[in-house]
């Protein structure tokens, strides 16, 4: 039947697009209709169901920090997803507590999404509350000073710009915090 496409360009176009659209629509338009967790913000008040908490929208300063994160391409080196892999939950955990696996409902307000594809540096999905301002300041000035062997580039223009630095850190501190996962509120400010 497809032999007709050898001679008939209109038929060819219809067939090529038709086949493409079957998969195209079923994998892009349909999934969010089926899976409500893609669009329903995380909220849980029952510890029996895992960490409690509620996803909130970022404030203006945090959004500004996020924009810097996008601008500087931090996302080419850092992912933001604790995957369904045991080592991920252990590695990104804290004092023996496993990091909760990332779920779609934690990212409902994210745009552009920052899931990332490459871990040149560690995952940042649960980095919120891990380090304080001082650590971040020194780290942005020159990461290798703080973590010998680091290949994270220095960002002096962030560390030395009070507004940008505060915004950046404010954003980083929100990461992974919708789920209150560390016991006894053990977070850095």
């Amino acid at each position: 039947m497809l032999q007709k496409a050898d001679y008939n360009a209109a038929f060819f176009v219809a067939a090529a697009l038709g086949l493409f659209f079957i998969g195209g629509l079923l994998t892009t338009v349909v999934p969010p209709l089926i899976d409500s967790s893609w669009s329903k913000p995380f909220e849980n008040s029952d510890p029996a169901n895992g960490p409690v908490g509620k996803l909130r929208q970022l404030n203006e300063q945090e959004l500004q920090g996020r924009a810097i994160y996008v601008r500087e391409g931090c996302w080419y080196c850092h992912t933001q997803q604790v995957r369904t892999i045991l080592a991920d939950t252990k590695r990104y955990g804290w004092r023996g507590v496993d990091a909760p696996i990332s779920t779609p409902d934690e990212f409902v307000y994210d745009s552009p999404h920052m899931f990332g594809t490459k871990r040149t540096g560690p995952d940042l999905a649960r980095v919120g509350g891990k380090y304080n301002d001082q650590w971040h300041r020194a780290h942005f000035r020159n990461p290798a000073d703080l973590v010998p062997g680091s290949i994270m580039p220095p960002f002096p223009w962030i560390a030395n710009n009070e507004a940008e630095f505060k915004a950046m850190v404010a954003y980083l501190q929100t990461l992974g915090r919708a789920k209150d996962w560390r016991p006894d509120n053990d977070y850095e400010k």
Binding site: Y7, R71, P112, G149
Partner: protein
């Protein structure tokens, strides 16, 4: 199968010189695209070296915001994908399509306008990436206004190709024409999804659209146009008819159906619905069908002709491109299996894989097409076959060094990550030798690019003016 013979008639192995006396192509558009693409190949090659160097010396150029890793990387990726590869692919389509249709390009004026617009887009992209104007989606980093420009340029390119095909003299369409048309159609929708539909979504929904685009930028843009080139130039460069028309048909239609399902495999083990992950794995494995159909056809075409590789640079690039294509497309489905994914995903293995596809397979096809078409476009002979050989060996050895060290290194890295007792920084330090070899391989590849670029330049400058001279130069053969 009455059509088989008709197709064979319209099909390529008509000798080029015979065709030339019959038909004079203006080819201004093809030349414009070709020369600008080779220029970007060279310039962006330098950027590639800079970012590879930053892995070895992280503070190299580190205090200049415009030259930080996070701004040069999108410049490298977009520059190579759109400035070099896609532009070169388009150049070759402007060259091939009129020849397969037996008519002139529908509109050279429109083509030239497309080429100018394309260059404006690429140059604006350079500025915007250095300034950090980045939308934050992989492969779709370009600011919105430039996205609109790309869509416009694509419509102009598509109109030219489709109108040329509509006016064709030979009724039967050779497989290269299907791939050209498929590329144009699919790209339009894939690009709109990745650059515009994403604007109206957030979170996982947006990521899913983004990955649909990223995956199909390779699968439904570079793959089909790359195959269009391979299907044309392998028979041409070896002067041997394609082994099987039917097999190319199976390859084409299975590609049309299967590829688009697999975008979500970039989120395996990630925060995305399990059932979608399962679908994406099943279809990723099915990718082996179109791949095998194409690769088998190419190998079978070359049967008994392999000796030609010895002194035919185009064929060397084409056939090593085919091998890399097969390897990449074997890796891809394997990555989507859970056990493998849990080790290699997010590691340095992945750039090794991606470079084999985009450099090893599709850039090799584009370079081969350039070596074949360039002398014919400028009615001259290639400046130097020896230099062309150098470009091949440098790119091949540099490429292999790059791919193989990153696979080994990436696998080892993933293995270490899966042991949470190893601190992250130790896994960084452990990869230092790998990144050093990668930089060294980068220099070799860049040497290949320089040899290629210089050869192109010298050929063009030494061209005898594109007259009608009956000089059926048996070049590059």
């Amino acid at each position: 199968m009455q059509n088989e013979s008709t197709i064979a008639a319209a099909e390529i192995p008509v000798s080029e010189s015979a065709k030339r006396t019959e038909m004079i192509h203006e080819d201004t558009t093809a030349k414009l695209f070709l020369l600008s693409s080779v220029t970007y190949f060279f310039i962006v090659g330098i950027i590639a070296l800079l970012i590879a160097a930053k892995f070895v010396m992280p503070s190299f150029l580190g205090t200049i915001p415009q030259l930080t890793y996070g701004r040069l990387r999108p410049l490298h990726v977009n520059g190579m994908l759109f400035g070099w590869l896609l532009a070169c692919d388009m150049a070759l389509m402007y060259y091939v399509v009129p020849r397969l249709c037996g008519v002139k390009l529908w509109s050279e004026k429109l083509g030239i306008a497309t080429g100018v617009l394309w260059n404006v887009i690429i140059l604006s992209a350079v500025v915007s990436f250095l300034m950090g104007w980045n939308q934050g989606w992989e492969y779709a980093e370009l600011p919105l206004i430039l996205d609109v420009g790309v869509v416009l340029a694509w419509v102009m390119f598509g109109a030219n190709v489709f109108m040329t095909i509509a006016n064709r003299k030979y009724q039967a369409m050779y497989v290269t024409l299907w791939y050209a048309m498929g590329t144009i159609l699919w790209t339009a929708f894939v690009y709109l999804t990745g650059n515009f539909a994403t604007l109206f979504t957030t979170g996982v929904n947006q990521a899913n659209l983004n990955w649909m685009y990223v995956h199909n930028a390779v699968g439904l843009i570079f793959t089909p146009v790359g195959l269009a080139i391979a299907y044309y130039f392998i028979p041409k460069a070896s002067n041997t008819p394609l082994y099987s028309h039917k097999l190319s048909m199976i390859g084409f239609w299975s590609l049309a159906f299967v590829y688009v399902w697999t975008g979500a495999h970039h989120m395996l083990h990630g925060p995305i619905s399990q059932w979608l992950q399962t679908i994406t794995i099943v279809f990723s494995v099915m990718l082996l069908i179109p791949v095998w159909a194409a690769v088998y056809n190419f190998f079978a075409t070359m049967k008994g002709q392999w000796h030609q590789l010895r002194d035919n640079v185009s064929l060397k690039f084409l056939m090593s491109g085919v091998v890399f294509y097969l390897l990449t497309c074997f890796q891809g489905p394997m990555h989507s299996l859970h056990v493998v994914n849990a080790i290699v995903s997010k590691t340095d293995w992945i750039p090794g894989h991606a470079h084999m596809a985009v450099l090893g397979a599709f850039s090799f096809f584009a370079i081969a097409g350039t070596y074949y078409a360039l002398p014919r476009l400028f009615n001259t002979e290639l400046y130097s076959d020896a230099l062309a050989n150098w470009s091949f060996w440098l790119l091949l050895i540099g490429g292999l060094g790059f791919f193989v060290t990153l696979w080994l290194g990436g696998f080892w890295q993933g293995w270490q990550w899966n042991n949470p007792a190893i601190p992250f920084i130790d896994t960084v330090v452990a990869l230092q030798p790998v990144w050093a070899v990668r930089l060294g391989s980068g220099f070799l590849m860049f040497g290949g690019i320089v040899a290629f670029g210089y050869n192109v330049l010298a050929t063009v400058l030494g061209a005898k003016g594109s007259g009608v001279e009956a000089n059926p130069a048996e070049v590059a053969a």
